[in-house]
């Protein structure tokens, strides 16, 4: 296990973490500001992936496909917000979980009816199919580098938006104390609409970007929803900074668990036991991390609400 290998795995962990961050950022914003648990975020992610894949295939332009996916997903989100989520703002989390779980069930059947039950093709943009030689010994997938870049750019953009703009100030005010913000004359309704659209755009971006390296299929939203929820809970619900740190933490722990745990166990345990235990432990590393964090800090690493 040489230095380059370890470096590469760190990069992989970072990459996976940033992928999770793209999805978790929208989720945590919506949750933090609107106090609304929107499980349908996973469905928006799926919508983004499907639309981007289909547009990319027919138009040949990946960038165009991503943009179309974002716009279309915002429209879908607006519809969902108008029909369902809007009525849930004043309800408890359980009601929100139940109703948006209902949205997931409907969305999955709808996608099946439109695009069929089989996974669909989501090609990698032609210019990014191969690897880039990062170091002499380290080729790295070009597309993953783009993902890393987009993830960091989104993180930076959100940081600037939340901390250095008027909208961000309103958003933070809404997140830390809704009634106080309303009292001070913040038009919370408009902030909500903005945040919901932003969340949908981030979900669509995540879905569109994941398509070329993953299966675009029904249920893809639920599969990644759980790690994304783990991320926002570890980070402290509502905290974008927390989501960023937690996403990188989960990405690194998950990747390190898979890359280093099995060989380490093989070194210290009998081979048959190590072969059974290693992958099993690597598989639950993320959950162990969350349980450990919540045991020490029951409201996550960066609690957004006092």
């Amino acid at each position: 296990m040489d230095a380059i290998f370890i470096f590469e795995q760190l990069l992989n962990g970072l990459g996976y973490g940033l992928m999770l961050f793209l999805l978790a950022a929208g989720l945590t914003l919506v949750f933090g500001i609107m106090d609304t648990m929107n499980l349908a975020h996973g469905s928006l992610y799926m919508a983004g992936a499907y639309i981007a894949a289909k547009v990319h295939e027919s138009s040949g332009s990946f960038l165009g496909a991503v943009l179309v996916a974002i716009v279309a997903t915002i429209l879908i989100a607006a519809l969902i917000e108008w029909l369902v989520v809007r009525r849930l703002y004043s309800r408890d989390h359980l009601a929100q979980v139940l109703a948006t779980f209902g949205v997931i069930l409907i969305a999955d059947d709808l996608v099946k009816a439109i695009w069929g039950p089989s996974p669909i093709m989501a090609p990698t943009p032609a210019a990014l199919t191969g690897p880039v030689q990062l170091l002499a010994e380290l080729p790295y997938p070009a597309y993953r580098l783009v993902l890393l870049g987009v993830g960091l750019a989104v993180a930076l953009g959100l940081y600037l938006l939340v901390n250095h703009t008027r909208m961000g100030m309103l958003v933070r005010a809404g997140a830390s104390n809704r009634s106080m913000a309303e009292f001070m004359g913040v038009r919370v309704g408009r902030v909500f609409s903005f945040v919901f659209a932003l969340g949908a755009a981030l979900a669509a971006l995540a879905g569109a970007l994941m398509g070329p390296i993953g299966a675009v299929q029904i249920g893809m939203g639920e599969a990644i929803l759980i790690p994304a929820l783990v991320v926002i809970v570890i980070g402290g619900i509502g905290s974008v900074r927390g989501a960023f740190v937690a996403a990188l933490l989960v990405g690194l722990v998950d990747t390190a668990g898979r890359a280093f745990l099995p060989p380490m166990l093989r070194a210290v345990l009998p081979p048959s036991l190590a072969a059974d235990l290693g992958p099993a432990l690597a598989g639950i590393a993320m959950y162990v991390l969350m349980a450990a964090v919540l045991t020490l800090k029951p409201a996550g690493l960066f609690p957004a609400r006092a």
């Binding site: 779980f101 619900i237 959950y287």
Partner: protein, 328 residues
């Protein structure tokens, strides 16, 4: 003080005369008990097994309703305890135990131990954090079961010699049905009773105002932990019965969607209502069974129903019956 008593002191609630509503459980029990005897005459033998499964899931839902409805603990890992119960039966079978009572008893004990340990950690968190940490533990159990080669892992584990009910074996072909019915009735009666006991009142107090309860001297954490452990034990019983019902156990029992489904069933039925669990299970499973007969697109009507329930019957279907009870 301007307000004058609008109501006299309610006479001890126990002195209430027996109404039609209080007879309802007995009527339901009688109908269910007679069902296997009547069903063959109408060619409904298949539904004996269906109702048996319904009753088992009702046990699990009732246990969840106890912590969710009465205790305000929104747990998304309850299927984990169902799985622990089922896998305890598998482990007992693997170890050569043939008695259902021994296996089920052990399932209750082991799932209580798991629930106590998981609850001890999880109950320090609140709200969504509690929900997620219970989910995390259930996922750990799920992945553990998937990779446990001895008990079949993802392939599941078939129980080829059904467990023995001791002296009850051979009394009737459907004896297992009545055993399940008796246990379900017992769980229902027990949870209804606990709800009006000191413990139940304390638990509901914690649900409504945890800080106040602590300030009044209640050992809040211990009460919640006992409730969580008890609910886990009963869920374990449901898992053990499910293992005997299917004679097959697989990790899919513990998948997080199963926990979510239990939660949904209780919410549809009515949280904190004693009929909430049974009603929710009956509605959900019957609907799924019927819809699947007619279409491959059977998820969306359920999703739609879920949304409608949240909007129009936010306290569950059981409240519709409650209103009727009052007007009668």
């Amino acid at each position: 003080m301007s307000s004058v008593a609008t109501l006299p002191l309610p006479a001890g609630a126990g002195a209430r005369p027996r109404s039609a509503a209080s007879l309802l459980p007995w009527v339901v029990l009688a109908v269910l008990a007679a069902f296997p005897l009547i069903a063959p005459a109408f060619g409904l033998e298949y539904y004996i097994g269906f109702v048996r499964r319904l009753l088992i899931v009702m046990i699990a839902a009732t246990s969840l309703n106890f912590i969710l409805g009465y205790g305000g603990m929104v747990a998304l890992g309850h299927a984990g305890f169902v799985g622990v119960g089922a896998y305890t039966v598998v482990a007992m079978v693997e170890a050569g135990v043939g008695s259902a009572w021994a296996a089920w008893g052990m399932a209750i004990v082991i799932s209580a131990v798991f629930a106590a340990a998981i609850g001890a950690v999880s109950l320090r968190a609140r709200g969504v954090y509690f929900l997620m940490i219970t989910l995390a533990f259930a996922q750990m159990l799920y992945y553990l079961a998937v990779s446990l080669r001895t008990y079949g892992g993802d392939d599941g584990y078939g129980i080829y010699t059904p467990l023995s009910l001791g002296g009850l074996d051979g009394l009737h072909a459907d004896i297992f049905y009545w055993v399940v019915l008796a246990l379900a009735a017992l769980v229902f009666a027990f949870s209804s009773r606990v709800a009006v006991s000191r413990f139940g009142h304390a638990l509901m107090g914690i649900r409504d105002n945890e800080t106040r309860m602590a300030a009044m001297g209640y050992p809040v954490y211990r009460i919640k932990l006992v409730a969580f452990t008890g609910a886990g034990a009963v869920a374990g019983l449901a898992g053990a019965l499910l293992a005997s019902h299917n004679n097959f156990v697989s990790p899919s029992l513990m998948h997080w969607t199963e926990s979510a489904t239990l939660l949904v069933m209780v919410a549809i039925g009515g949280m904190g209502k004693r009929w909430g669990g049974p009603l929710g299970v009956a509605i959900w499973l019957t609907l799924a069974e019927v819809l699947k007969l007619y279409t491959e697109y059977w998820h969306w009507p359920i999703g739609l129903m879920l949304i409608l329930v949240v909007f129009f019957a936010p306290k569950g279907v059981a409240t519709l019956f409650e209103r009727k009870e009052k007007t009668q």
